[in-house]
Symmetry: C3
Subunit: 311 residues, 3 copies
């Protein structure tokens, strides 16, 4: 593996899942990171990703350097052939090359601006950084994708599936804010590479880009989609002509225990942070079938498997 | 010890002091923290606590992850059964459980809002976090208490006392701002568990809550209180009906060398940061009887003893 | 070496360069920093310095604690005998003593306020900190000087010079903002201690303070200065009666490939971050004679040599 920006960088997703589950079993077995440095660059806030990536690296014996670029650094110029007399004081060309000289692996967290899908869809920051970096780049969530989250999700499904080919339903959920597509796009991409029966359900007009959903069934009737589900993955996202605008009037899409009754005693999944009683009812979140804590915990070992593969 | 939120979590304070003094003597003797991670969550600024806790953990071989939650994370919901459609994007229930999966011990620094004593007195953030955390929580100063500071103070007194039962006087001090009670409440709690003759002196109307001062003598005449003191501990705090409001007209409560003359050649103590020539005169602070640097230095070994007890 | 605030703290600059080049060759050879802590205090943003200093310390086995004093701490009082009833909540006397108890070496990054040269020229923050610190202080760039950058620059020149005594030309460059003199003053100071033919060129009225330039030739005709240069070091700075004000109308001072043709096939140098097509043309920056990445990479080993010398 040369970089980890999406599932497309992974030859065999299930092999990576097994590697991650092995890390979970014996986290300190392989100090392959000694005398190596992981640089973590955050262009937006992060809690789980920040902590789990650090623990993952330290489990391997790596040193970790964390930078909050927004308040500890300065704005970067992303365009070529520019006369840089504005606010940007450094070109990403220099920033990427210089920082990758200091770090053996670089993790980058960017975030959608949520104004125009066309602008966000370029995913320019991480792509440009990876282009100029002299060392491997790992996505800690980009504008469009969140592969470390998806790898953790897949580990979780693999650990709990009761049939060879479980039905996995990703459902859109209400949220007071317009949220990025990264988690949802990435989950779709990974599911499409796995042996699962994958269905997406969302209100009309909120379909995710087909480059990510591909062959997945997209159903606009949530109840129908949930039937016989083994795993229900809830997530809010913004899409289509309302991109960047909060969606009102879709409260009925919240996952309730009544809706979970439509499923095949499905497990509930969410990437966190989650808005209680907006995205999902307390009683679903606090039930034994909720896998949210395990998903979060798996983040460490997903990151550890990726770092191992890159070292 | 299962957590460290106050002296009430400590079976024998003097035993913990001896443990801390032993750490000070040989800081690198016991690498019991190898492959363990300390997470430090700051909800308010910190200098001494931040640095001393990191050094303490590293002395034990622990990894440390520091998070400034206010600018690197997001606001947490503290109440139960809430429809989370406001500013808070994550419930403390998830945050505490998730972060404590990543960290073997979690330190938390919260801070009083200084608007209403009733609101601050709930000390909700650290209590809720400790309730949901899957691993031990250490107070790095909460709204009401600062036990790591008190343990350092007690180490300092123990190292310098000339009689078996010294007289320790904690005196209120002037300050341009209304300050929290955490250091003062906590110092009172610890003194009440020790073999010292403990007196508190403050202007009328500024008595600390009796749940913390308990059996301590509270005297409103500073000169009378200082008589025969072996240790003078100065600290400003806000209390009573003026809670949250700066106190003007109490400049005469500043500790001067003339006031120190009333004592039994007492040592001067303060937790820092200190306002020179407002709380205490330069000549007292810079005199050989000032213990402020030793108090600050002891913070490392107080934290180290607590971490050792929790591992 | 007792501290590293300028070249004046260095007995033999070329010996330090050799030490740094040896660190570059074998970074992990000498774990002399085990059980030692480097504290990095940032009073202004930093990317290269922050990362390279951490890597340097970790190469030696040191622990590193980073503090962004502006958002994680509080303002410090720098003056003596003050009644501290204003915004500053701690005197540098206590801050320096306390923090240096926690850290074996302290690095400090301050920054010019760019309002009055007289005020900036006192370089008060780092000088006061070094005065009160109980342990060695390293400049990570002060108001007036940036010695770690200069040491990296000298390493780079030493690695590429083709004659015993190369001609080194430092040229002023246009920039949309008024910039500090730290890099330029420091480069001049170090060049004056080396066996190079050193020339400075800048528009009239922008001469650097003579205490730093000393015996160096200062030429106001850029083309004349560039003749026969082996190394061209571009940097913008503010000086003289326009101190703190952006300079308009000096676009012709940008380094172009046409100007590089005047030299003796000179290498191009810059400390970064650099404004492309304002300070220097893309084609110069991206040419094989550009040493900017090597300068940045050498920062790690410059810092490592300094830390080794101080331990």
């Amino acid at each position: 593996m040369k970089q980890f920006l999406s599932v497309n960088d992974v030859a065999d997703p299930m092999e990576l899942v097994q590697k991650a589950l092995a890390c979970k079993k014996s986290p300190f077995d392989d100090p392959c990171g000694v005398h190596k440095t992981l640089g973590l660059l955050f262009f937006s806030p992060s809690l789980r990703t920040r902590m789990s990536s650090q623990v993952a690296a330290q489990n391997l014996g790596m040193n970790v350097i964390t930078m909050n670029v927004q308040n500890e650094g300065w704005p970067l110029e992303l365009n070529e052939n520019v006369i840089m007399d504005g606010a940007e004081s450094e070109h990403i060309k220099e920033a990427a090359k210089v920082l990758s000289q200091y770090c053996d692996i670089i993790g980058i967290r960017s975030f959608a601006e949520m104004v125009s899908y066309e602008a966000d869809a370029t995913d320019q920051l991480i792509k440009q950084f990876a282009k100029y970096s002299l060392n491997p780049v790992v996505s800690l969530e980009s504008t469009l994708l969140h592969p470390l989250q998806s790898l953790s999700d897949l580990m979780t499904i693999e650990s709990h599936k009761k049939v060879r080919r479980p039905k996995v339903v990703m459902t859109w959920a209400p949220h007071p804010k317009a949220l990025p597509q990264a988690v949802a796009n990435s989950f779709a991409q990974w599911m499409n590479r796995c042996n699962v029966d994958f269905t997406i359900t969302n209100p009309p007009g909120l379909d995710l880009p087909s480059q990510f959903t591909q062959k997945a069934a997209v159903i606009h009737d949530q109840d129908e989609a949930l039937e016989e589900a083994d795993f229900v993955y809830a997530k809010s996202w913004s899409a289509g002509s309302t991109y960047g605008k909060p969606m009102k009037g879709f409260e009925s899409w919240m996952i309730t225990s009544k809706k979970m009754d439509l499923t095949n005693k499905a497990y509930f999944m969410h990437c966190l942070p989650v808005r209680r009683n907006v995205v999902v009812q307390d009683e679903v979140l606090d039930s034994p079938s909720s896998l949210i804590l395990e998903q979060a915990n798996n983040r460490t070992f997903a990151a550890q498997a990726v770092l191992k593969s890159l070292i």
